[in-house]
Subunit: 512 residues, 2 copies
């Protein structure tokens, strides 16, 4: 069989698997060619002389309709095994479909040798993915098979497409794709919400005085962000990005939080020095716009099936489309302007649960009002008060705000956060001492003096290395982090991030 | 500044950062055009009327030579700040270099406004990356800056290039790039070497009877492999792959093991059914060959600097080149053949530490002899004894071996492992019971009966879902896992995997 499919004389670098359904349908194949497809039966209708089956291999939103014509010599046993969920390989003629709803169909002569192969039977009575509508909660319980549903499969393909588009975009901008550590000694950024790696169990043979209980000789955590490590790489490669898992041990049960999520993070040396946060905003907008094709089959399918099939007529959909169809840059406003707008709205009687106050965080209801009601689309809110943001963001000239932004989008809320990073050694180290990330002034000096003796990063402060990046040719730079599941949620019209990743993890739940 | 660089009238999707040095040098720029480069000074030589500086932004192996011509009106202060390690932006004329060793150079008139900007000074006396040769161990201690060295930067770019090539290769073969969980309830595959997430600390307010100590309600581990989860996605999307972190709490100190490493894993429905392991071998060979360009600057640079500058003349280099230059498929042999060869070698007096015995693992010395001495290149060793391999590999007709392979390569050892997965429900569940991954026969039946009631994966066996994939249209499939750092080690001629990732983690060591 193997030799039949592949010429062994071909160059070993040129080996190709047979076409998927997507490849077959997009290859402008000629009518009436013989084609084989491998996939699962999504629905089947058996009539006396003809059987209709939709077969999907998961590479397209709609699958392919197969028409099986009755012929003498067919095994009734074989026909019985063609059920919903069965894995089959069908070989027939690909023709332009006379029916509506699809362009192509595969016509199979039932009795032909090898025309119909059942690769895997489906125990149809207990098959969890029945044709009826299945609840979200039921599918979460059956996570191991839920990618067989059209919605989850479309979401998984959407993740793939977005990542490939992002990759190409970053590549064209001169970025290097990098990997930074998952296990780290840093725990400060997670505000006490970092998962900790369990210390080792002492065993009978171990000498408790010499055998360390920590695998890495010190407490280890799962990273909450790759930013600090990316900054280290930026100081050598100029432009870096990663798409990598991040972890937060938050007990949040909202539709926007996962304990394990994927974050797109990028850092680069700014072309515009530190004039403004605008270079980062315009870059982020460009990257997102280029990564999303709102006309892709999968995005259309995801919206189409929303709201009982009326998703494409919804206001939410129109708002989403407008963000990508319009050539007008997305809205920018400062935090101070945002507070003023919220104030005015509050004064006019809008019942916010929290009164908007300068210097306090925007609550989720404030963010939603700004993006969904006031702007009706994505909005970059910039220059937040210094007290609300982490130590690494660059302090603006006013001394009261930092050069940062949150990108708020309708429904998904905060999609991206970014900032210019503080490149001034003196300003940064002062702030780090305020956050107790560096020892007091004297200790820091001592640490600096010992710099060339090596082991600097393992001794003294865990964060000394971060400050020291500024001592050795630290160029002005900035970056951002984008929640990948939130992006999928926004552009796919998916209500909960738990349906934006194959096997979600959140507090109390870890299936598979 | 921002407006000077970018027209605000452009479509927001078309924003571009300025060219990197790589982009500048590969854009076939015309001679005598004005160009700006931003990067770090790698070396500098100041003469009376002229200064030579090599500037690198980390995007190329060699950087760009800048020639600064003396002019009236220069600030001596500015000149003093041009040191090794300083971040600078230089603007000048790009011309064909009259000197040897580079194609282009940037000629700068010292006194021109903005011709020389120092973006970040370097404290040159304590700068850890001095021009002299730095030991590997010293650079590990200074991991936060080691990407400034030519070798580590080349390795990081190599990772990026390999991944982009892999991505394109998988995309063209109809695969979907997916993300599977890092945190998992499975701990069996790691043979007791999985990292465990620490249970929560009970706090004073918590009711110990109702507040679970486990964040996910049950013990959680860091995954040692994504294979089982990828198999779940294969059963819907047909072909999937991931490049994702994996973790092993091994106390290994060899140059081939890390506690945190990246693994390329792929699974797909086999086109050749289950005739042989050959489809997987030929696919793996094709994917690796397409992902490596042995003529890339970075690979050349890495080998060039090996063995005191004689790496390109080494036997190791010739062996590596031959694997990619030759059109002959890489060698295949069965485990049984391998044992016979080792036997013969042993009989002839080769002093292996371990005698080769059928049914026992190939030791590292055996693997090295096969790849380095006997074959002199990569070799697929196939069909290992059933007792040596995990439960999920397909049992061959002889009942004694499984349809699997290890790809052994010179120096890096086992680079890839893969197999046809057992698709037969009865064979698989029998084996899983042997491994105590499913309850006894009766329990399993009960579990199966309760299948449609949901929550199957959280109750009963952790692995029930894996077996059940075979009940619902499980098609014959297979896959492999490739150690990404080992691939980088092999093709880059890098001796230790700790130099094949930016910030390595191994037992006892976690810097940054």
């Amino acid at each position: 069989m193997f030799r039949r499919l592949y010429s062994t004389a071909a160059h070993p670098a040129r080996f190709q698997l047979p076409q998927t359904i997507r490849q077959l349908l997009s290859s402008n194949g000629q009518e009436n060619t013989t084609a084989s497809v491998t996939g699962w039966i999504k629905s089947i209708r058996k009539q006396k002389n003809i059987t209709f089956a939709v077969v999907s291999d998961g590479t397209t939103a709609e699958g392919l309709q197969a028409v099986v014509l009755k012929k003498q010599g067919t095994s009734p046993e074989l026909l019985k095994r063609l059920t919903n969920g069965a894995a089959v390989r069908l070989t027939g003629n690909l023709i332009k479909s006379p029916g509506s709803g699809q362009d192509w169909e595969l016509v199979i002569q039932e009795g032909d040798t090898n025309a119909i192969e059942v690769l895997g039977d489906c125990d149809v009575d207990t098959y969890p993915i029945q044709k009826k509508t299945l609840s979200t909660e039921y599918l979460r319980d059956n996570a191991y098979l839920r990618a067989r549903t059209g919605q989850i499969a479309a979401m998984l393909r959407l993740r793939d497409h977005i990542f490939h588009n992002l990759s190409r975009s970053f590549e064209s901008q001169g970025f290097t794709y990098t990997h930074t550590p998952i296990i780290t000694g840093n725990d400060c950024e997670g505000a006490g919400e970092a998962f900790r790696i369990a210390p080792l169990q002492p065993n009978a043979d171990a000498n408790p005085n010499t055998t360390p209980l920590e695998f890495f000789s010190r407490p280890a955590y799962l990273t909450v962000s790759h930013q600090l490590h990316l900054e280290s790489l930026t100081t050598a490669l100029s432009r870096v990005y990663t798409l990598s898992p991040c972890f937060r041990a938050e007990r949040s049960m909202t539709g926007r939080h996962l304990a394990e999520f994927w974050m797109l993070e990028a850092e680069w040396n700014l072309a515009t020095r530190f004039d403004s946060i605008e270079e980062i905003c315009v870059f982020v907008e460009g990257v997102i716009r280029r990564s999303i094709d709102p006309n892709s089959d999968d995005i259309i399918k995801l919206w189409e099936e929303k709201d009982g099939g009326k998703g494409l007529e919804s206001e939410d959909y129109k708002t989403f489309r407008a963000a990508f169809d319009s050539e007008k840059p997305w809205k920018r406003m400062t935090y101070t302007e945002a507070i003023e707008l919220l104030h005015a709205e509050y004064a006019q009687g809008h019942k916010f649960e929290f009164k908007p106050v300068w210097g306090e965080s925007l609550s989720s209801e404030h963010e939603r009002w700004l993006a969904e009601v006031h702007v009706g689309g994505p909005v970059f809110v910039t220059n937040y008060p210094i007290g609300l943001k982490p130590f690494y963001m660059r302090v603006n000239e006013d001394g009261k705000t930092v050069a940062c932004f949150d990108l708020l989008v309708p429904r998904a809320g905060e999609l991206v956060g970014g900032s210019v990073r503080e490149e001034r050694w003196d300003v940064l180290t002062t702030r780090m001492r305020e956050f107790a990330l560096l020892p007091s002034s004297e200790g820091a000096e001592q640490q600096s003096e010992g710099a060339v003796e090596g082991e600097r990063s393992t001794s003294g402060s865990t964060y000394q290395w971060y400050a020291d990046l500024r001592r050795y040719g630290g160029a002005p730079h900035g970056g951002f982090g984008l929640g990948f599941e939130r992006l999928v949620s926004w552009v796919g019209g998916i209500d909960n991030v738990r349906e934006c990743i194959g096997m979600p993890r959140w507090t109390g739940r870890m299936i598979m």
